[in-house]
Subunit: 221 residues, 2 copies
DNA sequence: ACGCTGTCTACTGTCGACAGTCAACAACAC
DNA sequence: GTGTTGTTGACTGTCGACAGTAGACAGCGT
């Protein structure tokens, strides 16, 4: 009846559900009802369950036995632990990028930075999309597929937390400066400096997220 | 972590299957037949499928659409990429451990080191079990749950590769020395040194694994 | 003998239904 | 009114069966 066009139903369900969670359409704290979600996606409970378990393994859902799947909401400790992991991965990636980068990589990084500044100074909201693209480009330059894979998973969880984040222009300008400094270190092929800049950058982002969280108040689990 | 800890059939299947894979009872390259495995475990295909997907998310199985699950076998590139990830995580963990360790942590580390030397000098085979315990203890001292979680997953994949590893006494003595040096750096609360020692330790282990792999010949995927 | 093509088989992907479990609610005893 | 206990309801965990796909193999044509 429904021949898998390019992906299995479970795979499609993963993509759709992931999007629903990341865009906040399913807000943190909300449960995912299996039968209801399955009906909404027009599939059976089997594939949907697989999708839920998959997203749980990515950290986008938490599973409670006999009670289903929740979208996790974060407290301060969770944010700190998450950023420790992110720092471990991305600092290493920055080191590797500084070691392995080609000239083409540097050009791509500069391009993303320029685009970010252009977009932000145009009076728009901070372009999270380009921020993500920068980190992704840096990751590509590191050429370490396993690290890249893990970073993507962590970034997803960060995106999930960003819903409770309000704009903070001074911080965001500082982030753009961090990115430029990072590119400079990578271009200079200075792994130690690249790692250090990344560490400080992430520390700043983490701190901003923590204050933002304390203002908004931690969401109830 | 695993949704139903030891109650659901799927959870039990995960534990059993993981053990079968890690002990090499299901050798690398071998397929896992769903109906056969389900019958062997005395459960239905549903829970077994969930277990397979779970182990796939841990990297202990690779999924091929319409063809099932294989136990992955590694080539040199895979080993390198995996150890880059491991280094990123464990170096960060070593730094954190050197910063946060208590006196009790140092005692525990010393105890594991002593036990390792005793066990190894007793003419036994190299005690991989105690090697793992050392890294685990160091991880506990780092007090970073998310990093610890990821390290455990990576270590599982390393265990999977270790089946093709033959003993190498000089290397193994060096490893014990590395562990001692690591404890010293942690006790001295010197994060930079701890990370550096860890990096060299893992580089040594990785190199030994690569030569071991080239001798045994890379197993076909 | 070689290559192509159609069938065949074993397996995965998917589905609907049953059974067990947990939480909320109501009725009751104190 | 408060605490306890039985009941109910909704949901997850599990199962067996059907459908569709990918590789294997034999038969045919050249």
């Amino acid at each position: 009846m429904t021949p898998p066009l390019h992906l299995s139903l479970a795979g499609q369900a993963v993509d759709v559900l992931r999007d629903l969670v990341l865009t906040g359409e399913i807000p943190p704290g909300e449960r995912v009802n299996e039968v209801e979600a399955a009906q909404r996606l027009g599939i059976s409970r089997g594939p949907l369950r697989e999708a839920i378990r998959h997203l749980a393994s990515e950290g986008l859902l938490t599973l409670v036995p006999h009670r289903g799947a929740y979208v996790p909401s974060a407290d301060a400790d969770e944010v700190k632990a998450l950023f420790e992991l992110r720092a471990a991965l991305e600092c290493a990636a920055a080191e590797l990028a500084a070691t392995r980068r080609t000239d083409a990589d540097v050009l791509r990084l500069r391009s993303v930075c320029a685009e970010s500044r252009r977009s932000y100074s145009a009076g728009e909201k901070f372009p999270h999309r380009l921020d993500l693209a920068f980190h992704q480009t840096l990751l590509d330059a590191a050429r370490s597929p396993r690290i890249a894979e893990q970073v993507r998973l962590v970034q997803q969880r960060v995106i999930l937390l960003r819903s409770a984040l309000h704009d903070d222009p001074p911080h965001q300008h500082a982030s753009l400066d961090d990115h430029d400094a990072l590119v400079a270190a990578v271009e200079a092929a200075d792994p130690t400096r690249a790692a250090e800049v990344m560490r400080k950058h992430l520390a700043r982002v983490c701190a901003q997220m923590l204050t933002s969280l304390s203002v908004a108040g931690p969401v109830a689990e």
